[in-house]
Assembly symmetry: C2
Homo-oligomer: 143 residues x 2
DNA sequence: TATTGTTATACTCTATAACTATA
DNA sequence: TATAGTTATAGAGTATAACAATA
């Protein structure tokens, strides 16, 4: 068991807390620039990968299915998302981005990449190192 | 200008996104274990450093001052926070944790450190490296 | 006049429970 | 019966605007 209450670990925890705070603020700010709330932006980004049943969205976003109804309602009323029937199961509604929704999701993604200026402070070699350390930390084994 | 749209940067952005998601989930979970919402936990943690005027709390939490009234109300009704007069300016109300509030804040802080298991995956040398990279990334210059 | 905190209002997100239509 | 989605409800967080007390 590695000691985790040491000051080095505490310092890193604080640094990660700072990263998390900045990341969240930037995400909310980027979402607001597209007149989206954070929850709406996260849901739209999720759908831009692939259309999903309401139930699956709730699982991915780790919230109750009943909440998804309202968020999709608001995105749908703005023409960013649409509900499609599932040919195989008439109980299921697939939420999918419209063409405009896909454009908005892409614009959001781009503005987020630009907002991530801090990484520019690191050299290429340092970024490679950071990537490997984050992967190790997250228990991700690169192939 | 360092290129930021390269795939290495994109990978790191994704990894940081994963860290942010996990950190937030763990924070909300730790807060819930003390019957606190995330906003209440963040406010209480802030006050555990030093008592602050309502206005300052809003600045630190980056929200409107009117919101602080309600959050402090809820913490006060549970006996975790109290409002004190400022001897120097009678307009100001200083929010401060009670003895129980301070204990709750400390318990929250401890449970967060324990929740940060991922860092245990790294050796001491790797953690030192990670710390330095995060500092560089955040524009923090160690003395 | 300017500032501090509050109230009033409206909207969004959240969980819980009950409902409907399908399976 | 079980599942997918919805509705109803209530609590919490948020921004905006208007207000009282104090500076």
């Amino acid at each position: 068991m590695t000691p985790r209450a040491d000051s080095l670990t505490a310092e890193i925890v604080d640094l990660i807390g700072t990263v998390v705070t900045r990341y969240y603020e930037e995400y909310e700010h980027a979402a607001a620039e597209h007149s989206l709330t954070g929850a709406q932006a996260r849901l739209l980004s999720l759908l831009s990968v692939e259309p999903l049943p309401m139930r699956k969205i709730a699982e991915r976003l780790k919230c109750e299915p009943s909440n998804i109804t309202g968020i999709v309602d608001r995105l749908e009323s703005r023409g960013l998302v649409e509900r499609r029937p599932d040919p195989a199961d008439r109980r299921i509604k697939l939420a999918a981005p419209t063409a405009e929704g896909a454009r908005t999701a892409e614009a959001l993604r781009m503005s987020l990449h630009f907002a991530r200026e801090p990484l520019g402070e690191l050299t290429s070699a340092e970024r490679t190192l950071l990537k490997q350390l984050l992967q190790r930390m997250l228990g991700i084994t690169p192939e």
